[in-house]
């Protein structure tokens, strides 16, 4: 992928990422989120992670965003009325975020491998689904099973928490 595409998608991801947190309307935020994730999945593709890129779009655009939108609609949330901005919280939060980013910047700069460009891959490695699948069901079988239990628990939890009247 040419560098300019990387910058475009990166910019898209970040801009819509910002959109998530600056929009006052939750629906707009949710849509920004999805667009941001689309940019992200494009970056995944640029990293030869096709399976992850696809999963990203499927899960987030297909499931998570729908869920968010659904809940927002269900609760009938509108653009929140402008409340008094807590100046201390705002300044403090921004400062902390800035400081944190500065730290990340320094760490990234300190990492010697940062200046590394794409290393060549063995040709014909597009079937990453195959490799990931082998790992997932072979080496990573145990975590995978645990994720299964996790999903079961989440299911029970969602039922318990959102059913109007329990049996």
């Amino acid at each position: 992928m040419p560098p300019f595409l990387f910058w475009i998608f990166a910019a898209m991801m970040l801009v819509f990422g910002m959109g998530v947190i600056v929009n006052r309307n939750p629906i707009a935020s949710a849509l920004s989120l999805v667009l941001s994730f689309v940019g992200l999945s494009a970056l995944f593709l640029s990293l030869n992670a096709y399976f992850i890129g696809v999963i990203q779009v499927l899960v987030y655009a297909g499931a998570v965003m729908v869920l968010f939108l659904f809940i927002i609609m269900l609760l009938d949330l509108r653009a929140e009325e402008r409340r008094k901005i807590n100046l201390v919280a705002f300044v403090g939060g921004s400062a902390v975020a800035l400081a944190f980013f500065v730290q990340i910047y320094h760490v990234v700069s300190a990492l010697g491998a940062s200046r590394q460009t794409f290393p060549p891959l063995r040709p014909g490695t597009a079937d990453d689904v195959h490799s990931i699948g082998l790992l997932l069901f072979g080496n990573y079988n145990l975590p995978f099973q645990i994720i299964g239990v996790l999903v079961l628990v989440a299911t029970i939890g969602v039922i318990v928490l959102s059913k109007r009247e329990l049996r």
Partner: protein, 106 residues
């Protein structure tokens, strides 16, 4: 050329944006979306590392991608559960605003 550092920096920026969202926004749903941003920025870093730390065979490090897969799954489950709690909260208190839920303190 695009370097690993560029990916990491972009990912870090996204993480920071998400973190800032958690700290600055007062709508719980938006806070939740910001948390998703943070998780996904980590995914970006992971995938970048996976691509740039090529295994001896010339393949990307798929272990990282498996981990990303787990993270996505967990994140999805978390969203489901989180939204359920938010719904329950809204039913009880008619609010999704963090400043309205500060009865427990000190």
């Amino acid at each position: 050329m695009v370097t690993l550092g560029d990916y990491l920096m972009v990912s870090g920026l996204l993480f920071t944006i998400g973190f800032a969202g958690v700290m600055l926004r007062r709508n719980i749903i938006i806070i939740f979306m910001s948390l998703e941003l943070m998780l996904n920025s980590a995914n970006l870093s992971l995938v970048a590392f996976s691509r740039f730390r090529v295994q001896p065979g010339g393949l990307p490090n798929y272990h990282a991608q498996v981990f990303v897969f787990f993270i996505i799954t967990v994140a999805a489950a978390e969203v489901a559960l989180g939204l359920a709690i938010i719904v329950a909260l809204f039913r009880a208190r008619q609010t999704t605003h963090v400043e309205d839920i500060s009865t427990l303190k000190f």
